[in-house]
């Protein structure tokens, strides 16, 4: 069973006109829901930058749920239709960097669909619980910086002058590459 003591870290981006209203409607109807979700209100799903999702997931969010108006029903006519393309692409992209595709979902919930919202939240939260916490980065921002400060040196610098796992020598080509453009820039 998932950790019952503490909420998972789930962020929701909800459009103001439909889904935020739907979430309100679910509350007004006193539909019992998991508490894990923290909702950020945005005007439109078209405002949801896929980078917000990436940022959240890379900063330790266990799941991100975006919800907007149903297609054809957007308060701004087209916002959710742009969002659908952007978010679908992101959804398909995330697995390659090792983030389970179940951790990000986008759905359509209208302001009148309180019970649908409850279902969405419940199912998404269940899904995240079944996936467990997202893998953590080894060092969090502060510990690493603290460590660097303590050592007074750049310990975070990778071992750039040592061979990597493949046994390949590190490359210095890029430094030369920068030289490549020296002349062009000097020309200006």
């Amino acid at each position: 069973m998932p950790d019952l003591g503490r909420d998972y870290r789930i962020i929701g981006f909800l459009c103001n006109w439909c889904s935020y209203g739907g979430a309100d409607a679910a509350g007004v109807a006193r539909f019992n829901q998991p508490t894990d979700l923290r909702i950020i209100r945005v005007p439109c799903s078209g405002r949801v930058d896929p980078m917000f999702v990436a940022k959240a997931l890379l900063s330790g969010a266990d799941g991100v749920l975006v919800s907007g108006c149903h297609p054809r029903d957007c308060h701004y006519t087209e916002g959710n239709l742009y969002a659908r393309r952007r978010l679908e692409l992101l959804r398909r992209f995330l697995p390659i960097i090792g983030i389970d595709e179940g951790r990000f979902e986008y759905v359509w919930v209208s302001a009148s669909e309180g019970s649908r919202w409850r279902d969405m939240v419940t199912k998404f939260t269940d899904k995240i619980h079944s996936l467990g916490h997202i893998p953590r980065m080894a060092e969090t921002a502060r510990t690493l910086c603290a460590l660097e400060g303590m050592l007074g040196a750049s310990s975070a610098q990778p071992d750039m002058w040592h061979a990597d796992a493949s046994g390949r020598q590190p490359r210095h080509d890029a430094l030369l590459h920068m030289d490549d453009y020296k002349e062009v820039m000097d020309g200006e």
Partner: protein, 648 residues
């Protein structure tokens, strides 16, 4: 920065937070007073109120903050009621979640900037869609209030459902006699432009400055010439056309004026049935028209109007009882709908007020009414109550006993919902004075009788009060069909950018406090397009909507919402992607002196969706009040908490 946090009875550790308190009802007058006082005494720069949904009270609190001398956008709400307290009973988790939500609001507020509204001119004109009793009432009220009204009706005449009714309940007034004078007023009012046989094609713009494209469908009759004399109707050879004004219980001609009181009283041709169009060989109406008004080549016309506000009053349609096999599914001619019965009862209707069985034209002696056909019935996906059927059924039962004194009337009902003024008394009169037999129970089956009395209908049902089955041999069965949203309502909602529920009824902004507004500023609702309503409720809502419009357009200038896109010109690379994706055409490219280009937002046109912000590769265009930094602050507020909680 100095931030105050007020928690409505429903945390000082946050950065910049210098004051935190709680209050029993923050939105109340003393609650708002406390907020104002605190801002002044502690010289706060911003306020977070943790209470209900911002969709509910954001405007209220912004005003309070403004009264205390702060910019109204230096305010944030944490929704700890609908999103926390009301969805879970787990105190510990709720507290943690509420704390997080407040933290997020505080972090966002730290990135808020004062925003100032710009003002813009408004069109003092209103578009009203639908000219049933609600649309008519709204049009007259707005016009009397000094606004120019564009009234669009998709049918040939205004009047809507009410013009089809014989009598109204509970007064048993003649419906069209009450409505008729109002229809005439609409036709004659100098401020009302009536566009019948027309539909809204497209709505663009924003509150105060909408632009609407209206399709005036071709009537194939020049209405500037037509006098409504009716000569063409008499001579038209195709006489078997379904008469929709009379709900199909009689037929009409291909060129028609729907009813004597029609406004505008003009003829129109239905090209789907007219022989000239279907067979290409008739031209009778053109020959007989004394005004030379017939024009077979007439085309649809698109007219464009500028208006400041819109009232949707598109009314309702009725449930199609053919979905109900237990009532014959449309197989039995003597099972009719309540509106068909209404036409029959009407003195100006096709039977001149005589009740006749459609099958053989005889007068029925036993009439059975069945309530809730297509209402309160989940099996046909109509779980809602249609509001007025109980009452019109009582009225029709009374009229039946009036018209045919030796008749018997039975009503099968589930519950009687008679909540209006004088309604319960009216139902009582039907039961006691007119001896209408009310049977509490559903009808299981209707089937034609056979044998000697083989032309009747057997109505089998349950009497749940007696706990027995009942069978009634009826001559006529009237189905109290429920209300549905008008066909095409969802498509219109999409054009108006308003929401609608699962059944196609338009969604009001708040069910209690903003019942005539929609979520699109400047678009209002009147009548049964919002939910099934009877005449007084529709008229009341229409007047309410008109009042809202009059208040809105009483100002010469409106303030624009400053939550719109803003370009950081220094960072813009002039690629123009925002211009291409803006749904409103609110971004244009401005050329600088060096020939390079920068994006520029047309402030009154921008609606604040933020699509551009995500499109911009540099994120140089930012949506004020929902900037990347503000949203990131919320994300970071959460992630940081989590870091701390996992490390500790």
């Amino acid at each position: 920065m100095r931030i105050g946090v007020m928690v409505c009875h429903a945390a000082r550790e946050f950065p910049d937070v210098v004051f935190a308190t709680d209050h029993m009802y923050a939105c109340s007058d003393p609650g708002q007073g406390t907020i104002e006082q605190t801002i002044r005494s502690l010289k706060l720069d911003g306020v977070v109120v943790a209470s209900c949904s911002p969709r509910m009270h954001e405007v209220t609190f912004r005003r309070a903050v403004e009264r205390a001398g702060l910019n109204r956008y230096m305010f944030e709400m944490a929704n700890i009621r609908e999103h926390v307290a009301w969805i879970s009973l787990d105190r510990k988790r709720n507290t943690e979640k509420a704390t997080d939500l407040v933290r997020m609001a505080v972090e966002k507020l730290r990135h808020n900037r004062p925003l100032t509204a710009k003002s813009f001119e408004v069109q003092k004109r209103v578009l009203i869609i639908g000219a049933g009793v609600a649309g008519i009432q709204a049009a007259l009220d707005c016009a009397e209030g000094g606004l120019d009204v564009i009234l669009v009706e998709r049918r040939q005449s205004i009047g809507g459902v009410m013009s089809k009714l014989d009598k109204t309940f509970p007064t048993v007034d003649c419906s069209v006699c009450v409505l008729g004078p109002k229809m005439v007023d609409v036709g004659q009012h100098p401020r009302i432009t009536l566009l019948a046989l027309s539909e809204v094609e497209e709505l663009s713009g924003y509150v105060g400055n909408f632009e609407v494209k209206i399709r005036k469908k071709s009537a194939f009759v020049d209405w500037t010439k037509c006098t409504g004399c009716g000569a063409c109707l008499e001579k038209c050879p195709s006489k078997k056309v379904r008469d929709s004004h009379n709900e199909g219980i009689t037929t009409t001609t291909a060129i028609t004026i729907p009813f004597p009181q029609a406004i505008p009283k003009r003829a129109a041709i239905d090209p789907a049935v007219c022989l000239h169009f279907t067979k290409g060989k008739c031209g009778v109406c053109k020959k007989v028209c004394p005004a030379d008004a017939i024009d077979y080549d007439m085309q649809d016309e698109i007219v464009t109007e500028k208006v400041g506000a819109v009232i949707a009053a598109t009314g309702l349609d009725l449930f199609d009882h053919r979905k109900c096999g237990e009532y014959g599914g449309g197989r039995y001619p003597d099972v009719i709908t309540s509106l068909q019965y209404e036409r029959m009862l009407s003195a100006s209707g096709p039977t001149a007020g005589h009740i006749k069985r459609p099958s053989d034209g005889t007068e029925p002696k036993t009439v059975v009414f069945i309530s809730c056909v297509g209402s309160r019935d989940r099996s046909v996906d109509r779980p809602y109550c249609s509001n007025f059927c109980c009452m019109y059924t009582a009225k029709q039962a009374i009229l039946t006993r009036d018209h045919i004194p030796d008749s018997r009337a039975y009503v099968f009902y589930m519950d009687i919902r008679a909540t209006g003024k004088g309604y319960e008394e009216f139902v009582r009169r039907a039961q006691e004075e007119y001896e209408v037999q009310y049977i509490r129970g559903r009808v299981a089956q209707i089937y034609p009788t056979t044998g000697e009395d083989g032309n009747q209908l057997m109505v089998r049902g349950a009497d749940t009060l007696l706990g027995t089955q009942v069978e009634i041999k009826a001559d006529l069965v009237v189905l109290a069909v429920g209300a549905e949203s008008a066909h095409g309502a969802p498509a219109l909602a999409e054009k108006l950018r308003i929401s609608y529920d699962a059944y196609g009824f338009f969604l009001e902004s708040h069910p209690k406090l903003r019942p005539v507004e929609t979520n699109t500023v400047g678009v209002f609702l009147a009548g049964a397009c919002q939910a099934p309503k009877d005449i007084p409720a529709s008229v009341a809502q229409a007047s309410a909507a008109a009042g809202k419009v009059l208040a809105l357009l009483s100002k010469d200038k409106l303030e624009s919402d400053p939550q719109i896109a803003q370009v950081q010109t220094m960072r813009c690379i002039g690629c123009g992607k925002c211009e291409r994706t803006c749904p409103f055409g609110a971004i244009r490219m401005r050329e600088l002196r060096d020939g390079s280009k920068r994006a520029e937002v047309v402030e009154t046109v921008c609606q604040g969706c933020g699509i551009c912000s995500v499109t911009c590769p540099v994120r140089a265009i930012q949506l004020a009040h929902f900037t990347d930094s503000q949203l990131l602050a919320e994300v970071n507020a959460l992630c940081r908490t989590w870091d701390e909680t996992t490390e500790s």
